[in-house]
């Protein structure tokens, strides 16, 4: 599904150039659950942002389902993103002014789904995430775990092929964290490819493969059995 070759990313200021990704190579197959680990500043989040087409690489190739997407323009990237990729963030990133229902509905609005179908699909996914009873609440009225479930619901409502999760349990206690990891595992079992950045060895154990980064390149890959 994903093949990156010699991927490079630099951050430049007037005097210093920092290498975030250094000729990185990585391949991820459809249906895989991959955890990306490494110390702070090793390029994990940069990689995730490039994979999610939120950021441009400075060099190398990025094939998504066989298409070179490294140099897509803003419009094409937005289009590919909204149909194929779902995001889960550490800080949930729910919109405070929208209710649970409306937050989950948002991706469907941007993909132009009809009102009736939106309602069906949002209710379906909220039920699945066991958060249907909170549909009319605002994010600040929910617990952290509930908020992350809403965020996952929002990430999956468009039935994306790929979910990118950036430390999804980082702001949660262990029991809520485990719940979220179970949810991700379920999604993966149903066929969704998942790439997750994490600091937690515990969470990483839910994945099939751990990619360890240091100074912008892969240092080790562990296959989980």
């Amino acid at each position: 599904m994903i093949k990156i070759t010699n991927l490079e990313k630099f951050y430049r200021t007037e005097e210093v150039e920092t290498v975030a990704l250094n000729k990185l190579n990585l391949e991820i197959n459809t249906g895989e659950f991959v955890a990306i680990m490494g110390p702070s500043g090793c390029g994990k989040s940069t990689l995730l942002n490039i994979l999610g087409l939120l950021d441009d690489p400075d060099g190398g190739s990025y094939l998504f389902n066989g298409t070179e997407v490294a140099h897509f323009n803003e419009r094409k990237r937005a289009d590919l993103r909204k149909h194929n990729i779902g995001f889960v963030f550490q800080s949930f990133n729910l919109i405070d002014e929208l209710t649970v229902f409306e937050n989950v509905e948002l991706p469907l609005i941007y993909t132009g789904v009809s009102t009736a179908e939106r309602k069906t699909r949002v209710e379906e996914v909220l039920t699945k995430m066991q958060i249907m009873h909170r549909r009319n609440h605002y994010p600040q009225q929910l617990s952290g775990g509930q908020q992350q479930r809403v965020a996952i619901a929002r990430a999956v409502v468009n039935k994306p092929k790929l979910i990118l999760a950036d430390e999804p349990t980082g702001n949660l206690d262990s029991s809520n964290g485990n719940e979220v990891m179970e949810l991700l595992t379920d999604l993966n079992e149903q066929g969704t490819t998942i790439i997750m950045v994490t600091h937690s060895e515990h969470d990483a154990r839910y994945s099939h493969r751990i990619v360890r980064l240091l100074d912008g390149h892969t240092v080790m890959e562990n296959i989980m059995m």
Partner: protein, 807 residues
């Protein structure tokens, strides 16, 4: 989608309600002021536009090049109009026109009416449609009179006035007239106003001046045949002028006057009637012209306020946008396109603008009365709903939403997704050049208005306090009403007040000093030959004790005195006149001002400002010639207890004329009244400056809120490292104060230029002082500093642990 936008917009607006309220208040105040000002300006520009052929109508005026300078005058001699029409084939219509007050009797009713003496062409040129009578025949008979519907109603109630007879007293003569036509009531935006139209033959002195080309007494209007190029008028009329004004031109030549570039000493010109309402350059035009500068100043201030409010709107929206950067990031991640984001933020702008417009119009309704009083505006609320005004409001609404809405939406759309999701604003948070430029523009306009306010106030203060050379405070001026013999009134008052211990002196004159409660101003200038050259002087018909009553200082000779019977032919002159005559030992010399007799100079008074301080003091000659009426009675009282004195004089008047209203006023009230337009201008500048400053400060406040949010971490770190409150307040204010300073540097030369041009219209004026600019700059900086302090002090006092934790 739209529903979703509106819903989100509403929740966002509600969440940021303090910010948005500031936005709405600023914008709605600006919209209300602009709506009122635009209506006023539209109204002023609409003057006389109801005349169907207004562009074809012109008023005649002469330009005379005298040795003393160029003189423009709209006063025409009686034989001019008929001669011009007979000799000049391009003229379609021509009419003479003169105003007078008259006492009208219709049955038992007695009314004070405004009479216009006109020729038959008048109603063909000007669009005053007849509701009764025929335009071609209404002036067929010499005793025909045309009246307005309002006058008809006042005289005859609901009866048809046609062919009814009324008695009209003009001067001292009462004559019967027959109503031959009724014109529709005159629109409010008409320069020409009248109750009655009479044939020009009834104009006083018509018969005696019928063939005199040197007696200039009335206005004249012409309308040309189609296709005539008015540019050629002065040139084509040269032979006509040279033939008919030969005597005048010969006198000018004798005095050594220099011809202008066309070789003329005296020439006839045309002033377009379409711009009559703004024609303040010519004395003697219809109505009360207003200065175009005044109207344009209003317009400029309205535009300034609108610009300032729009800038606020932009800055506030951008500031609010920063707090929503994360939302933008999330929406982009979820696949929102540029246009979708732009539309969403624009929806919010439209909602704020709509709320502001509605609130602004409601505010209009509330403040229209004080506005009308303050600016002497004749607008009404109904005008707001006229199609052209509704369209203008719609236009302003679209302009604001387009200009003020697009930029903030664009800025928000450009946030870098990855950065804003992390709460890092990156480059977008840096104070942009655009924002700084906008702030500079706002404060430049505000400083400009502060400077204008200070300078107009100084000039008005100067006008009010400059000694004028006569007693302003203890002299009461009483206009003698229409239909009353002024000399008789003066005599009656003099006799009645003789025994009054409060009264020091009583006199009377033809011209008032300043502008009395009757609102009229008069002037009379004559020229006469002396030692082979022409001397021109203002004539002031006075009565005994005039100099004494007004406390004018005698520098030589004496005042008119009852004990000298020969004084009725004597003359008292001012110093300017004495200089004009030249030589020494002027008292005792004779002037040949009138053909019947010589006038002996019996006294010279110190120069005094008998006109407003717009004009330099000109030569004036006081005479007691009976042909000029006494129009004003002056009473000088003892200092102190002026109110009591006023009451006693009023009672005295009421004893003589129980049915005639007493309209006396102190001379200082009269002189103040001359500067009404300056006061209005000053009011405009003050209100404009206050509004501009308040709205600018609202904007600055919002921006300081934003800056403090952005620099929370920096403030925390600095405090941990030992910065004190003053240091942090200074840090946060410094950049803004720099901008205000730049604004002042831009505003100062502009303000100097504007105010210097304005001051040029006064013969007596203040000189602009440097400290005014420093004061205005300091005021702007102080206000900006106070505004920023609300936020910066709060930020500086916050516990650094709290601000660092927010990271």
């Amino acid at each position: 989608m739209i529903k979703n936008y509106i819903k989100t917009a509403w929740r966002n607006l509600w969440k940021g309600r303090v910010f948005n309220l500031m936005n709405v208040v600023g914008l709605s105040v600006a919209i209300a002021c602009c709506a009122l000002i635009f209506m006023t300006v539209y109204y002023e520009f609409s003057y006389d536009s109801f005349h169907q052929n207004v562009k074809g109508i012109h008023q005649l005026y002469t330009v005379t090049n005298r040795t003393s300078g160029t003189e423009r005058s709209t006063a025409m001699p009686i034989p001019l109009a008929p001669a011009l029409k007979a000799e000049y084939s391009h003229i379609k219509y021509i009419t003479r026109s003169a105003n007078s007050g008259a006492l009208v009797k219709a049955g038992a009713k007695q009314l004070d009416q405004n009479v216009h003496f006109v020729d038959a062409d008048f109603l063909k040129m000007f669009t005053f449609p007849l509701v009764e009578g025929n335009v071609n025949t209404v002036f067929n008979q010499l005793n025909n009179v045309v009246i307005t519907q309002q006058a008809a109603k006042a005289m005859f109630g609901n009866q048809s006035p046609l062919n009814k007879t009324i008695l009209i007293t003009i001067g001292q003569r009462e004559e019967p007239f027959q109503v031959s036509g009724v014109v529709k009531d005159i629109p409010r935006n008409s320069s020409i106003t009248f109750d009655l139209l009479l044939r020009f033959e009834h104009f006083p002195n018509y018969k005696t001046d019928l063939s005199k080309w040197d007696n200039w007494s009335h206005m004249a209007f012409v309308e040309f045949k189609e296709g005539y190029n008015t540019q050629n008028f002065a040139k084509q009329l040269k032979p006509f002028v040279e033939a008919h004004y030969k005597a005048d031109i010969d006198l000018l030549k004798r005095d050594g006057a220099r011809p202008d570039e066309t070789g003329s000493l005296l020439s006839l010109h045309l002033a377009p009637f379409a711009s009559n309402h703004f024609n303040t350059n010519l004395n003697g035009v219809e109505g009360y012209p207003v200065s175009k500068t005044y109207v344009l100043s209003l317009l400029a201030i309205a535009c300034f306020i609108l610009i300032i409010a729009c800038i606020n709107f932009i800055n506030l929206s951008v500031a609010r946008g920063f707090t929503r950067a994360r939302e933008v990031g999330v929406r982009k991640t979820l696949g929102a396109g540029k246009w979708q984001l732009l539309t969403q933020f624009w929806t919010e702008t439209i909602m704020v603008c709509l709320a502001s417009t509605i609130l602004g119009l409601a505010l209009c309704a509330v403040i229209i009365s004080p506005f009308k009083a303050m600016f002497k505006s004749r607008i009404n609320l109904a005008m707001l709903f006229q199609p052209q005004h509704l369209l203008a409001i719609l236009g302003i609404f679209i302009l604001i939403t387009a200009l003020a809405g697009f930029y903030p939406a664009l800025i928000m759309m450009r946030y870098k997704t990855v950065a804003v999701l992390k709460g890092n604003m990156g480059d977008t948070a840096k104070p942009g050049k655009i924002r700084n430029t906008l702030l500079v523009v706002q404060f430049a306009l505000s400083t400009l208005l502060i400077i204008c306010t200070i300078i107009t106030w100084q000039q008005i203060n100067y006008l009010s306090n400059k000694p004028l050379g006569f007693n302003k405070t203890e002299v009461l001026s009483i206009p003698v009403n229409k239909g009353i013999d002024g000399s008789k009134a003066l005599q009656l008052m003099r006799n009645d007040l003789r025994s009054n211990s409060q009264v020091e002196a009583v006199s009377g004159s033809y011209m008032n000093l300043g502008r009395g409660n009757d609102g009229s101003t008069r002037s009379s200038i004559i020229g006469f030959g002396m030692n082979g050259r022409e001397i021109r002087t203002n004539l002031q018909r006075v009565d005994f004790d005039y100099v004494k009553t007004l406390d004018i200082k005698l520098v030589d000779g004496r005042d008119f005195d009852l004990n000298f019977p020969g004084d009725s032919n004597a003359v008292v002159i001012n110093e300017s006149m004495a200089r004009s005559i030249g030589g020494r030992n002027i008292v005792g010399r004779y002037l040949f001002m009138f053909p019947e007799y010589q006038s002996q100079i019996i006294g010279i008074v110190k120069d005094y400002n008998f006109k407003s301080l717009h004009d330099k003091i000109e030569p004036v000659s006081m005479i007691m010639r009976k042909q000029f009426a006494i129009n004003y009675v002056f009473v000088k009282v003892k200092p102190g207890n002026l109110l009591h004195a006023f009451d006693e004089i009023k009672q005295s008047w009421n004893r003589q004329y129980p049915n005639v209203e007493f309209t006396g006023s102190w001379l200082n009230e009269n002189t103040e009244r001359q500067y009404q337009s300056e006061r209005r201008l000053s009011n405009i500048f003050v209100s404009g400056a206050v509004l501009a400053i308040v709205i600018s400060c609202i904007g600055l406040l919002a921006i300081s809120v934003m800056i403090v949010i952005q620099r929370t971490k920096e403030i925390g770190v600095r405090k941990v490292l030992g910065a004190n409150v003053a240091g942090i307040v200074f840090l946060l204010s410094r950049d803004f104060l720099k901008l205000v300073m730049i604004a002042a540097i831009i505003a100062v030369p502009a303000a100097w230029w504007v105010m210097d041009s304005w001051l040029q219209s006064f013969a007596y004026r203040i000189s602009i002082q440097w400290w005014v600019f420093v004061l205005a700059t300091l005021m702007a900086m102080l206000l900006a500093f106070i505004t920023i302090s609300f936020q910066s002090v709060k930020a500086a006092l916050t516990n650094p642990v709290k601000s660092l934790r927010s990271e």
